[in-house]
Amino acid sequence: MKPSLIVDVIVRVVFHSVLVLAAYLLFAGHNQPGGGFIAGLVAGTAFGLRYGSGGIDAVRAGVRVRPWTLLGIGMFFTTTTALVPLILGGQLLEHAKVSLNLGPLGAPKVTSALPFDTGVFFVVIGMVLMLFEAFGESPLEEPKR
């Protein structure tokens, strides 16, 4: 794949914006369109863009951790938020609501569903990155079967 300067530069600009968008979707998800799953997919497309500009190496350079670590983190988040209420004497997956007061920034309500959704977010990103790992290497570089 021949690298193109224009694509490269545009992707550099857009990549972080898309990630920010994903983060927004993740946090807004409880009250507005969005959520962990969508956010994960959007972040995945951001990596798709990187792949388009620089191949698998660009994708690998974009995340410091390996994709399976992300999968693990994600599963850890979801299962922990599911199990912690059990330990605290509640029911599986019971969620708590906290209202934060951030002064001038407003007083958003935060529920413990957020870490859960974050877990989903990570799992989806991890999944997408795993797919890039699996299929992303150029077939030409591989040994003939």
């Binding site: 959520g35 799953f37 569903a113 999944m127 795993m130 790992e133």
Partner: protein
């Protein structure tokens, strides 16, 4: 249940302890023994110790322990012999051997599981402990994990006992559901009847037979002798194999009257007793003689307990007690011999220096007890067994009695072979006992092996001393034994055990047994020749190997058919199943009325786009173009979501389509750019028809399903509860993370597994030599 904890801790942390781990194990087990002794008085008086603990409340499972007198006897045996075996093991293994802590930990774990089996008062709890003993037994037999024979034997043991255990679970469920209770005491007090119970009983019996190594499931027990001798002494003679007997003893008083029980138990028990004795006479390995002897004795006990008449039950308790004492002694002595001489072949043994008197006398006493020589506990037991069948009134009683007598004669004979084989009394007996190899294999003699230290043979001597003590003064044990028998079957009359019953049929039979036994030992040569001609037809080992091979073959064939690796076939089957099963239900549905075809112009336009793109995707030959058309369909759907006011769905759909297109491109790089020509007209026709069926079904389903809702929709409830309870205005998201959070976890897990699977499949490379990574192991290669 302290035991289980200590056992696990030992496996985990005990590596540094080395041989000392056994001492810790002995201490733990000793605690159990002391506890049981402390409570013994009350339990014998009829006050059972009951402990209840809820376990899985949702399933109504409780972890109830109930120790009545029979359980007490078993607990005393398990923990008492456990202590001795632990101490013995600490001398048996050389210092600094690997894996000691694992072995000791497993032994303690096993002890805990075994205590659970004999004290559980709930059938399901009993099943759990039962399988735990199977698993620990597997690990113990396969302890020497570098030995292929040990691994194969362990596998055989767990396959046979495990499948028997499964049959037993089925039986428990059948009986339990018929009775409405899984409590042993209630079950025995009011036994249910009927066909269901009869089937259940047969299944339970299969489980008990596999565990107690009854014919035709006995092949695993001799194989299990590859385990270290302390393990064999403990699991495979004194305790675990008694689990089946224990269960039969528990159920027999209540269920012996049911149709298949008595004949099955008596026939199997007798075959096992005689067949095992016969095969024991053929062995040269001391441990294998003992193993077949154990099989034979277990058959004996199965007969006694299984018949379900009070006298026999009482006799069974005595036999069980006596057997635990003398068999453990013999195993311990054999272990000493093996340890000091490095061989167990009776053709090589016989010459000992001074210092061997301890083990020798112990072995002779235990052997004589097993053979039923007077003044020993085994004699009391055998006497009682004969007596119970003399006037039993059971159909076929005389035949059973005759079988028992023959079995006991064989017992005497193989005991002679064992004891004389291990400790030849001198040249005077040379040629008399027929130990010379019939097949004239020359085995080098072991001369003057080092004498074992006192601490090594003390456990064996202690057990032997107990055998003598109880043999001369059987009334010492009669309290415990009588109470145990009564707790099994209240009809048992409390009767003191006695050495001397006067001249009666039983005594005559005992005398006959002894006489014939002596003759058989003396005529050892001839017996050997008969053995050569008459190979035992009951070889369960061949059956086991054959069935294992058949299983492997069938599995390979079924896999070949079901998983044929053709993607179109998989897709076709999945689609057709998904279509036809609900599709058939649609046939009777009412036709939809008042179909609303009025839509906005935008929807019409998008619909047109969808139709065009979909058709194109199906017709195009170029893969890339087809994928793009599929993408167009997806975006069209997203547009419809937007128009219908579902921004969440639309957003998800957009993101998925974008990513999907990218990933498709990645995969497509590896494939040819055009689809292959359709192979045949038939194949093409088949694909088209499957597609049409699926399409028509989805269309019809969508039309009809929206119209025939019966139950009120749950979405209203979700919308209502979303803000106050879920704390979010986005209903879809609240459903995902809160109302249906468990589903989401499941889906996330599926994603993770799928991702791992994809990566491992694409990274899988065939090995250089072309062999597949996992080779099917042929069981006969490593068969014992």
């Amino acid at each position: 249940m302290l035991q289980a904890g200590v056992g696990l801790a030992l496996i985990g942390a005990g590596r540094r302890l080395g041989r000392g781990a056994f001492v810790v194990g002995a201490a733990t087990t000793g605690l159990g023994f002391a506890w049981a002794l402390a409570r013994a008085g009350g339990i014998i008086d009829g006050r059972a110790v009951v402990e209840r603990r809820p376990w899985v409340e949702g399933l109504g499972l409780t972890l109830d322990l109930r120790i009545d007198a029979f359980s007490l006897l078993m607990v005393l045996l398990v923990s008492g012999i456990g202590v001795l075996v632990h101490l013995y093991a600490s001398r048996y293994f050389g210092a600094g051997r690997e894996g000691m802590a694992r072995l000791a930990g497993l032994l303690v774990l096993f002890t805990a599981a075994m205590l659970g089996v004999v004290t559980a008062s709930n059938l399901l709890a009993l099943y759990v402990f039962w399988e735990l003993t199977s698993v620990t037994s597997y690990l113990l037999v396969g302890w020497n994990d570098t030995d292929a024979r040990a691994r194969a034997s362990a596998l055989q043991a767990i396959l046979i006992t495990g499948s028997g255990g499964l049959a037993m679970l089925g039986g428990f469920l059948l009986i339990g559901s018929a009775a409405g209770t899984y409590e042993l005491t209630e079950l025995v007090a009011q036994p249910p009847g009927g066909t269901q119970v009869q089937v259940g009983l047969v299944l339970v019996l299969i489980g008990a037979f596999t565990k107690s190594a009854q014919w035709p499931f006995s092949s695993w027990l001799p194989g299990a002798m590859v385990a270290p001798t302390p393990v064999s002494a403990y699991l495979h003679s004194a305790t675990m194999v008694k689990a089946g007997v224990y269960l039969i003893a528990r159920l027999a008083p209540a269920f012996a009257g049911e149709v298949p029980w008595r004949p099955v138990v008596l026939v199997i028990g007798l075959i096992t007793m005689i067949g095992g004795g016969w095969r024991a006479l053929r062995q040269y390995d001391l441990k294998r003689i003992l193993a077949f002897g154990t099989v034979s004795q277990l058959g004996f006990m199965v007969v006694l307990f299984g018949v379900g008449i009070p006298e026999a039950t009482a006799a069974g308790v005595v036999v069980l007690f006596a057997h635990a004492l003398f068999k453990a002694t013999l195993f311990l002595v054999v272990g000493i011999v093996d340890h000091q001489t490095k061989t167990r072949d009776i053709r090589a043994l016989g010459a000992y220096g001074p210092g061997w008197n301890g083990p020798r006398i112990s072995a002779v006493i235990a052997g004589a007890s097993m053979a039923g020589v007077p003044l020993l506990f085994g004699f009391v037991a055998k006497e009682k067994a004969y007596e119970s069948f003399v006037n039993s009134g059971v159909a076929g009683g005389p035949v059973v009695l005759a079988g028992l007598v023959v079995g006991s004669m064989l017992t005497f004979a193989y005991t002679g072979r064992l004891v004389l084989g291990a400790f030849r009394p001198g040249a005077a007996f040379e040629g008399l006992h027929g130990l010379e190899p019939v097949d004239s294999t020359e085995v080098p003699k072991v001369v003057d092996p080092p004498a074992p230290p006192l601490s090594f043979w003390a456990p064996a001597a202690l057990l032997a001393a107990l055998t003598v003590l109880l043999g001369v003064f059987p009334s010492l044990a009669s309290g415990l034994v009588g109470a145990a028998a009564q707790s099994l079957d209240p009809a048992v009359k409390a009767k003191d055990l006695a050495l001397w019953h006067g001249f009666n049929t039983a005594l005559a039979l005992s005398a006959l047994t002894l006489a014939v036994g002596v003759l058989v030992v003396a005529a050892g040569h001839r017996v050997g020749r008969v053995q050569q001609v008459l190979r035992s037809p009951f070889d369960g080992n061949d059956v086991y190997l054959a069935s294992l091979r058949a299983l492997n073959r069938t599995a390979a064939r079924v896999t070949g058919i079901v998983q044929n690796g053709s993607l179109p076939v998989y897709c076709g089957i999945i689609l057709l199943t998904a279509t036809l099963v609900p599709g058939l239900a649609l046939l009777g549905a009412p036709a939809p009325n008042d179909l609303d075809l009025t839509s906005s112009p935008g929807e019409w336009a998008v619909g047109l786009l969808l139709i065009v793109a979909g058709t194109a995707a199906a017709v195009l030959r170029q893969r890339m173009a087809a994928v793009l058309c599929l993408g167009a369909v997806g975006f069209g759907m997203a547009l419809i979501f937007v128009l219908q006011g579902a921004p969440d769905l639309a957003l998800t759909q957009f993101a998925i389509e974008t990513l999907g297109a990218v990933l498709f491109v990645l995969v497509l790089r590896r494939l040819p750019s055009r689809f292959d020509e359709r192979p045949t007209a038939l194949g093409r026709w088949l694909r088209v028809s499957v597609s049409v069926v699926v399409g028509v079904f989805v269309f019809a389903f969508a039309l009809i399903a929206t119209d025939v809702r019966v139950a009120p929709t749950i979405s209203d409830e979700f919308v209502e509860r979303s803000l106050p309870e879920g704390g979010g205005r986005n209903v879809v998201n609240v459903i995902l993370v809160d109302f249906r959070g468990l589903d989401t976890i499941g889906e996330a897990t599926v994603l993770v597994v799928a991702a791992l699977g994809i990566v491992s499949i694409t990274r899988l490379r065939p090995r250089r030599d072309g062999s597949s990574p996992s080779r099917q192991l042929d069981p006969s290669e490593v068969a014992p």
